[in-house]
Symmetry: C2
Subunit: 207 residues, 2 copies
DNA sequence: CTTGTTTCGGACAATTCGTACGGAACCATA
DNA sequence: TATGGTTCCGTACGAATTGTCCGAAACAAG
């Protein structure tokens, strides 16, 4: 039942995914009705229920499809780099977001009951945490900040900037924003604000 | 119409706000019906519509009430500090989240059509950006990363960690998490991962 | 006490939802 | 190209929820 092999299944699901994205951008997720999705996808309403329990599940399917697509872009990058690289290069994330902008907009707006965005954040943070943990093990150093906190913070930063970037006309292109995010997260706000680097051992009294 | 002065209005709105929070934690925002909110708040259904257009507006009211409460806590802190301080101390945010945990959970889960969470993020990031901008002006330095990017990144980091913290049993208390977030965002991932501090002028090749 | 506002309780039509069904169209095999 | 299994269509149905209306009662503030 509902085999992913079947061409009809692929067709229907793909159609419904992009129908949802379109409609959500037009009138907001909450205002989109299942009838409309089916109509736009040129599919019977009964077909929708044959694949998804509700709108939210369809949106989650959109998220999974998006992240799968994102992962599919990485091997080429990794191969071109020094061996053993398993990171999630910021630059390709923003470029991916540039290409798939409408989808990112819909996903990152976080509509629905939040399951979809949470799925996206989870898929990302789990990836990030794994990378950080491997790196720490490999270098044999003890992190000054626990890896799980690090992963959550960095994912939050990424998602925050990403949401803002795809939803507004910020004036920065993918390359610029990549540079800022990378340097900021790597060297911190003190460096980023243009101050001379003090020694971080004393407790800082910034906010 | 709908004057905020009237005691009946205050009563009704407060009751509906906490009813929504309770019910959302019990069964999820999407599953909560307006009937239930009214019933739990011990208010007629018509009264709901006299105050809010839909559930989302009620949730936004929850957000505004929450941030207003958060702001109300700050003056005491600011006064106890060196004059001229206008920051948003991380520590008090996490302590506030600890006290108001159910509300933070509901808000940060980002259910509904996202307007409420977006309002929260906006209210926070606007505050943050103002602080960063003032600080940059005051110090007369040119930030290496534009202030708007800085604000979005830091807000994202804060919201990301906050969501994770209030929704999971992370094992860190408010003070610990505050220290980590503050140091990490101030000095960056390179420092946080325990590495010796290289010179940040060369282009980094981390992710 | 009087005036204006808010709340109540009940009713209403209109949407949307989720499910069911037989028959037609389709796909992957042989 | 024949066949058995699946997916899709079209339609129909009851149930639940929504948003709006109204007059009467309760309340707040001068």
């Amino acid at each position: 039942m509902t085999s992913v092999e079947d061409r009809r299944v692929r067709r229907s699901r793909r159609a419904m995914r992009s129908a949802l994205v379109e409609l959500t951008l037009e009138k907001g997720f909450g205002a989109v009705t299942i009838d409309e999705v089916a109509a736009r996808a040129d599919v019977a309403r009964a077909t929708f229920y044959a694949h998804y329990r509700d709108k939210e599940e369809l949106l989650i399917d959109v998220v999974r499809d998006l992240t799968a697509d994102r992962e599919r872009l990485l091997p080429a990058v990794e191969q071109a780099r020094s061996e053993g690289f398993t990171g999630l290069p910021v630059r390709y994330i923003f470029e991916h977001a540039e290409q798939q902008r409408p989808v990112y907009q819909v996903v990152l707006r976080g509509e629905g009951d939040g399951r979809a965005l949470r799925e996206f954040v989870y898929l990302t943070s789990a990836r990030v945490e794994r990378v950080f943990r491997d790196r720490a093990d490999q270098l044999g150093v003890t992190p000054r900040v626990p890896v799980d906190v690090l992963a959550q913070a960095w994912t939050g930063e990424l998602v925050g900037v990403l949401s803002w970037w795809v939803d507004n006309d910020t004036g920065y292109d993918a390359e610029e924003i990549t540079g800022y995010v990378r340097d900021l997260s790597a060297y911190g706000r003190v460096w980023a604000s243009g101050l001379p680097l003090g020694h971080p051992s004393a407790a800082p009294d910034h906010d």
